[in-house]
Symmetry: C2
Subunit: 270 residues, 2 copies
C-alpha cells in the first residue's frame, strides 16, 4: 500500500477531519489492548516509547511510512495497562475495517499492543470528546508469596486486606464530589469536581479487584482512591477517615497512591 | 543461617531421608508457582536454567550455599507453567515452615518462581510417588488480534473454535485407555495405559480453557490431546476421528501437538 498520507500532529495537536483539498477522510474507531510495562505511557513523549507513537508509526505503514495521527480517549500513565482503550484515526483513503485491523496488528507486532476491533465511524466521532463513560479496573494480589506471572500487572500487597471493608468505605466516594484530595498535583482538568458512577471491590481468593466508572477521571484519581482504600483494607483507616480526606480537598490529606502496575483502562462508552 | 548441608543429588538421583549419621532430617512439602517462559523446564539440565536448579540453589542458601536436592511431583517441559506444582525438600535441621517459605522466596527473587506454601511433612512423603491425582489446565485465546499480556502464556488460535464440540469429543478420551497416540516418542512411562478422570472444555469470551485430571499423565499427553481437540474445534476432525486416533495406538495418528505456552500444572493431590 502506497498513497499520500496525513502526517501525525505534533504533541498536543488535534486531528483534522479533512485533507488540504477538502476531501473527507474516513475515520476509524480502534479498540486497543496494551501491556503498559514497556511504555512511558499513552502519550507521545521525547523521553521514551509511548503507545501512541507506536500506533502512529503502525498507521503510517498503511500509507508509505509517514506516521498518522492517532487520538486516544484519554491518557494512561507509564506502566498502566489497557484492555479497552479507544482511539480514532483518519485514513487518507477508503480501506475496509478488517484490513485496517489486520495491517495495524501486523505492523505493531514487536510491541505488546493489539487492535481488538476497528470500525469505520462518523467523521464527527471523537475518541476523547464523544466519550460518555470510562471504566477502570485495579488488580491487587493479596498474598505472602511474591508475584510470578503478575509482575508489573498487579499490586502485590502482603498484609491481609478486608475487601468488604474496602467496598463499604468506597461507597462514600460514589456520586458528585470535589476530588482535589485524589488528584495529581499536575492534573490539567479544569475542575476537580467529578461524578463517580460506582466503585465495587470484590475478592476471589488472593485476587482483589476494584472496578470503577465515571464520565471522566482526574489524573491519578483511580490510583489515589485505590491506595487510600488499601489503608482501609488493612484497618489503618476507617470509612470516616476516608470521608474526612475527601472533605479536606487537599492532596496532602491523601492516604497513599497505588502503583501503576495494577491499573487497567477497561472500556469507553460513547 | 550457616550449618552443614546435604548436597543436591545428581541428575536422576533420589532424595534420602537420613543424614550420614542416621539423624532424621525434616522434610518439607512445597507448593510452587512458576512462569515457565525463561526455563528449559522443571528438570535440572546442562543446557540452561531449570526451575529445579533455581529452587535447589535457593534451598542451599538456607544453609551456607551448597544446593539441596528438591524432588518434584513431575516434570514440566520448557515453556510450561505451574500454579500448583509440588516438591519436597529435606533440610538438615529444624526450621519453621513459615521461615522456609520466606527464605526460599527471598532467594528465588530474580526468577519468576514462588513458594505459595511450605509445610513440614512426614518423612515418607514423596512428592512424586505419593501423588494420587494431577490436574492440568490448557489456555487458548481464540481471537483475531495478536496476544499482548498472554504472549507465551496461552495458545493463540485465530480460526474460530467450537468449544462445545471440543468438550463433547473429549469425552471419548475419559476413562482407561492406551494413550500411545498421545504420547511423546521419548516418554519414559512403563505403560501407555492411563486413566483420565475428566476433561472439560469451556469458553468465556475469547478464552477457551481445557481442564483435565488423572493419577498421572504420559509425556506430552495433555498437549497432544489439546492439539487434537483444536482440530475438532475448527471442524477438521469429528469425535469419531478422535476415537479412531486413540484406537490406532500410534503416534503417527496424532492430529497436532499444542505448544507449551498454554499449559499449566495446576494441582497435585496426595
Amino acid at each position: 500500500m502506497d498513497f499520500p498520507c496525513r502526517p501525525a500532529a505534533g504533541p498536543g495537536g488535534r486531528s483534522r477531519d479533512e485533507t488540504a483539498s477538502g476531501q473527507t477522510m474516513p475515520r476509524f474507531k480502534l479498540t486497543l489492548e496494551y501491556d503498559g510495562r514497556p511504555f512511558v505511557g499513552w502519550q507521545r513523549q521525547e523521553n521514551g516509547l509511548s503507545v501512541q507513537a507506536v500506533l502512529e508509526q503502525a498507521a503510517g505503514m498503511l500509507c508509505g511510512g509517514t506516521p498518522l495521527a492517532v487520538t486516544g480517549s484519554g491518557r494512561t500513565d507509564a506502566g498502566v495497562h489497557a484492555r479497552g482503550q479507544v482511539a480514532h484515526l483518519d485514513l487518507p483513503r477508503a480501506i475496509d475495517a478488517h484490513t485496517v485491523q489486520g495491517a495495524l496488528n501486523y505492523h505493531l507486532k514487536p510491541h505488546p499492543v493489539a487492535v481488538l476491533a476497528a470500525e469505520e465511524t462518523a467523521a464527527d466521532f471523537h475518541a476523547r470528546f464523544s466519550a460518555t463513560a470510562r471504566h477502570y479496573r485495579y488488580r491487587i494480589v493479596n498474598r505472602r508469596a511474591p508475584l510470578t506471572f503478575d509482575r508489573g500487572l498487579a499490586w502485590h500487597v502482603i498484609v491481609p486486606l478486608d475487601a468488604d471493608a474496602m467496598h463499604d468505605a468506597a461507597q462514600a466516594l460514589v456520586g458528585r464530589h470535589d476530588f482535589t484530595t485524589f488528584r495529581h498535583s499536575q492534573c490539567q482538568a479544569k475542575s476537580p469536581v467529578k461524578t463517580l458512577d460506582y466503585i465495587r471491590v470484590t475478592r476471589d481468593g488472593e485476587d482483589i479487584r476494584l472496578e470503577t466508572g465515571a464520565r471522566s477521571f482526574l489524573h491519578h484519581q483511580a490510583r489515589s482512591i485505590t491506595g487510600t482504600l488499601k489503608l482501609v483494607g488493612e484497618g489503618k483507616w476507617t470509612r470516616r477517615d476516608l470521608r474526612h480526606a475527601l472533605d479536606a480537598r487537599d492532596r496532602a490529606a491523601l492516604g497513599l497512591n497505588a502503583p501503576p502496575d495494577g491499573l487497567y483502562f477497561m472500556k469507553v462508552e460513547y
